[in-house]
Symmetry: C3
Subunit: 388 residues, 3 copies
């Protein structure tokens, strides 16, 4: 018990500090301070000022709505004069983070369930029934083969299929695009972001933007960088592509909203940055289902109760609104981690200088003698030992 107290006493009341050799040398001293300065500059300048190592970060939680405006007309032999508005070309009518705008289409009207010849291609052209396998349905066929070979037109025979008839002929995509005027449509993007860790939320419609401005503005990277209304053609152009090209076979455009916020500064400095990128790279070598398209149908009922449909293969541009970013705010944990690491690295200065002083300098033996005290692990060593 008494021994325990003594140990505790010596633990509490003794202060141990390393013994230091202070070498009064201009060369070594300056070198040491220079190395320390460099390390300090790195720790403070780079880690703290540049990379904001003193901040806790959080990823963005976001909510997006998009609204398209615009109306155009087409005049084709098949459909006649026709007007297209938002309800016609946005499919589906609403989505969470994206909006699809139909720019081109292959329309197959008045399809009914029945039997009809396939569109001729190298797998469907036949001469006799023997060329058609009943019941087969290939990945690219429009229906299930009946096994009969029937006349497609005067000169060609193709396998008959049970399908929605007449089957769609999508061999030729209209070029230029059917709704090429979509270039001038506008897209209003409303984005609300939230950093849960800091309970900070903000909208992309900034508080200093007036209602009147919003009614007329169009986003432009230079003149109107905070206008949330985009001209479709401009989006595609900014990404380095041609709207009329992409409109033919469709594609995916990313509207990227970057919210990098330093919450140690004023909230009004936390601003959205828009950028645009095409997300479906079109390589000539990998053109399996290039662009972006999908099929949908409008179903109608005849007075006698039978159903018919209009099948539309819709080509168009899907605008994906991608919101990302990080917010940083001062926090004690990363600060301490970085200070701790910085201090540890500061210790490297001494190690480095020691190497130079003790191994490279002319007077190294003299310095070593001062720094080190040699203790031999032999009883006889005691006598020889010199006091350092």
């Amino acid at each position: 018990m008494a021994g325990c107290c003594a140990v505790l006493g010596s633990f509490l009341f003794e202060y141990d500090t390393p013994r230091i050799v202070l070498i009064r040398s201009r060369k070594v001293g300056l070198m040491n301070r220079t190395v320390q300065l460099l390390i300090l500059a790195y720790v403070i300048g780079w880690v703290f000022v540049w990379e904001k190592g003193y901040q806790e970060t959080d990823s963005v939680v976001s909510s997006v709505t998009a609204k398209v405006k615009g109306v155009t007309t087409t005049n084709t032999s098949k459909l006649g004069f026709r007007i297209w508005d938002v309800a016609d070309y946005v499919i589906p009518a609403q989505e969470e983070n994206s909006v699809f705008i139909m720019t081109n289409m292959i329309i197959t009207m008045n399809q009914t369930q029945g039997l009809c010849p396939e569109i001729p291609d190298k797998t469907t052209v036949c001469e006799t029934n023997a060329n058609c396998t009943a019941g087969s349905a290939g990945t690219h066929s429009s229906g299930v083969a009946t096994g009969r070979c029937v006349s497609f037109n005067g000169t060609l025979k193709t396998c008959e299929v049970a399908a929605w008839c007449p089957v769609e002929d999508d061999t030729e995509v209209p070029n230029p695009a059917f709704l090429k005027a979509a270039e001038n449509f506008t897209l209003l993007v409303k984005n609300n972001i939230w950093y849960p860790k800091f309970n900070f939320s903000k909208r992309n419609i900034l508080p200093n933007i007036t209602s009147a401005y919003l009614k007329t503005c169009i986003y432009d990277a230079k003149t109107d960088p905070f206008c949330p209304i985009f001209r479709l053609g401009k989006i595609v152009e900014s990404a380095g592509h041609s709207f009329q090209d992409i409109a033919v076979e469709g594609g995916i455009m990313g509207i990227q909203i970057k919210w990098d916020c330093n919450l140690d500064r004023a909230a009004s400095l936390c601003l959205p940055r828009y950028s645009f990128r095409r997300l479906d790279t079109r390589d000539v070598d990998h053109n399996v289902s290039p662009g972006y398209n999908f099929r949908f149908a409008k179903y109608y009922s005849d007075p006698n109760g039978t159903e018919h449909r209009t099948l539309i293969k819709a080509y168009g541009i899907r605008f994906d609104i991608i919101v990302f970013g990080k917010a940083g705010k001062f926090d004690i944990i990363p600060t301490m981690i970085n200070i701790g690491s910085g201090l540890a690295i500061l210790g490297v200065a001494t190690v480095l200088c020691d190497v130079i002083v003790l191994y490279c300098m002319k007077k190294r033996y003299y310095y070593r003698e001062k720094k080190y005290k040699y203790v031999e692990d032999y009883e006889q060593g005691l006598g020889n030992e010199m006091d350092q």
Copy 2:
């Protein structure tokens, strides 16, 4: 070679440890231990216990489905008595992380492609054909102007447009909301989360919840915090808004599910926390397309083959289910990083005490003399040097 071996030998068989001055002073000793204790308390208490610095973290990967239940009736002069069920008011029928419930609408029935006068507003009212530009289609117009000025009603003339006729008149939004009874609809949210790094998955329907409970429960922050069925009115109220207000012009509600899990503890303690937030802030000053609405159409075919449609401008509430959270589990890397930083910071105690002992205390010269050994970088310095 022999020299090399000697170096290797001295490297392997020598142990270097700093020489320490042990100052037997109650004041300094206690001070030193106190500073060390504070730093230790910080490192252990804050970094490890509070912020769980010993844990590796992972972000949640989530999958959500939502299902609405409820039916209501309306009785208007335009539509007569009408019943509304899920297939009528949820548009589109399914989405990935959100569900839209129509609460209000402007319905324009029996639209056909044709020519008709625009709805009068300050840009469309005209007196002669000269006021209307043929071919122009403004952002807010319903169609493409023909250039003629025609009679809208007995007193007013407006520009004629080629459009789906009659054009929609959305100047007056029904108030109170058409489907105001949506307040009592219920929303079942099924959420499955996964932490890939720890291969840990869980559902928001907890294992101890019985099927009978799920049939009758309604979420309540106090009484039923784990019931995944929400009354729409309650969601909006919890976010501090009025359902009947938001129902008129629509809006976006966030259902936030927070999964903060400490996987070092039992999996049953990893529980979802629900919170609700309105995502479309409505400022009086920024009311450009306030609330949330979109247009969609139902297409019909007349017996003679011409198409007509019913255009619906749907106002409603989109419920975005936002899942976020972090799971933490013990991992050696962050533990070591934090211990390393802690140790480095612990070294600060010695630096601090040294400053006090060597610069502030009365006996500072005495202590300095003990701690430091001065080595002059001059040959002549050797003789003068005193042993420290």
Copy 3:
């Protein structure tokens, strides 16, 4: 001023390095080096080589499109012989990160607004009008009760409701699934990823994949791990479930694409890894609305202008494409943090060895005497003090 210069001079031109006791002992020396080696091995081997502690990481930003191919036939008494293609069974026609494929359905044709008896169950069966509450609309009822009790069939009476009539009878789900052939449909997933911090983007259709290969390949974990075309049946199987089981009541399948990229190596080594998981765990005890289904309707207009609809309760599999992953690239900050921590931990070696040398070894008193220099905080202590 002069004092200030002196202080600055001594600060700049003095180099302080700790005084070291060098103990020439094989035992202690080897022990020290071993402990240091272990710590070094940990820091270099584990933190740097294994966990890549020298890398900055970034989370993936992703864009996904999915396209289903396949056609099948059904032959039922209700619908007759019928062909089903993509436009019929994919609802909605396009979504952002998921695709729903209808595999089963309960179809209720020719519904019109009207009055009709409810489907009998324990809450709707009645004997007199007194059993039915006018105006009530339960969560599970199809319409609003009129308060009358009417004949459902010869033997049963149920409450009458104002609803879309006839009301849907979903008590029996078709088994086997209606569109069980969906097992052989294929799903093409196109995924474009981006790491914003490193401005690195890649597609899941790899550059070395030829167009011809893409036309015929089907994903297989062993033989075709980079083919982006999946057979639906195989996806479900890979997750350990039976397609025909899941097809009956529907479900959610996750197609997980993992992009873990080491950007210090060649970009061609950054490859997608596919895995499959069922996201809706089906517990026997928690079968509240098991599987996945939703209702939608197709609206038709009669020649006389009244509207009727076909209500479809669609059961099916929603394929959620979940993209996750981290990219790492060398960065100076995490490297320095880890080196700093490693150095600090290296200091532990000296502490550990000191404990052993000074407290456990036979010659501990001898070593202690060499390491420590005791300084008494008493004036009288000065005389007694021996030079260490």
